[in-house]
Symmetry: C2
């Protein structure tokens, strides 16, 4: 189901946008539709946008020295995704971002991002809260990775996002959990025996 950026912003600000603010902001956005398996951000190329997912799913992943991919994040509708370091520092990205379904996106370029921060006072606050939430989540993810084994992380994940396995292939779920597909199979097998 499609998620609007207006809702996303107002939910974080706990405040409605005026028509003027909303129009100013949307004029800075570029709508994009990409097909399954199309890539939006490339490792080693500068990531020039922040992306808001209106509909569909993306994932960001990293290719390690052995050529293996590790999914760092899924971006479902209503989420923002990017290689933030690349975006803010204008350096080559460390992550790739790719669509797992046909996906509708709103993209904001760095110039327009800075324009939004300057011209619409609320937006500095909005982006602070957006990033703050993302940071909190990633701190908790690190914490869970310390204290929970793969089985617990799997159970927590599907509890929190029950439709995940319907939307993304299992080997990417394994990757996100930090294990191999075979290991996730084994874990699922053990669970079904219980």
């Amino acid at each position: 189901m499609k998620r609007t950026i207006k809702e996303n912003i107002e939910e974080k600000l706990k405040q409605e946008l005026t028509i003027d603010e909303y129009e100013k902001f949307t004029s800075l956005l570029e709508p994009i539709t990409i097909q399954k398996k199309q890539q939006l951000v490339f490792e080693d190329k500068v990531c020039k946008y922040l992306y808001f997912v209106e509909q569909g799913v993306l994932h960001s992943y990293l290719t390690d020295d052995n050529g293996e991919n590790h999914t760092i994040q899924f971006g479902f509708e209503g989420h923002w995704i990017s290689d933030l370091f690349s975006f803010v520092s204008n350096t080559p990205a460390t992550f790739n971002i790719e669509a797992l379904e046909e996906t509708e996106i709103l993209a904001i370029s760095k110039t327009n991002f800075e324009k939004a921060l300057q011209d619409i006072p609320k937006f500095e606050r909005f982006f602070r809260i957006l990033i703050q939430n993302a940071y909190i989540q990633s701190q908790h993810r690190i914490a869970k990775n310390y204290s929970d084994d793969a089985e617990h992380r799997y159970l927590a994940l599907i509890k929190q996002q029950p439709d995940l396995l319907q939307r993304v292939p299992q080997y990417l779920v394994a990757s996100y959990l930090g294990i191999k597909p075979q290991s996730l199979s084994r874990i699922r097998q053990n669970l079904s025996k219980k």
Copy 2:
């Protein structure tokens, strides 16, 4: 060596503070000195401050269901530390924060934090950048944990922060790396054989 909050802010803003801005802000800070092993934030109590470390070291850690502690973050001089989720949502903390040496801190309460955001326009920007950097770091940490084994993580850590083992006990370094002290000993032994 003591780090000043003024430098910290100006470095992030890439811009100097006026005397007025600086004085407004420092009037909102409470200096605290705590002794080694004293605790600043308690799991299950609301974390009511953000802390800037002027001198010394703190660590934030989590106690898991087996009663084991996992160090999530070290806060050396020049760093900010807190349980951000607890702070922003007024809910009980998930992390503990404790001094590893006698430590000098500047604390800002939630009320004063909000005052700073409202009264000093630059501060919304400052905190966005502060949190943005922290988020980027934690994304990269997650990525490294996927692709590198404990030995590589250890080598990368001491390369990046060569004095770490002089300042904090080895079992906390192990904990931060996500392994047991015995395993870090083994890794160090293997490395010294090479």
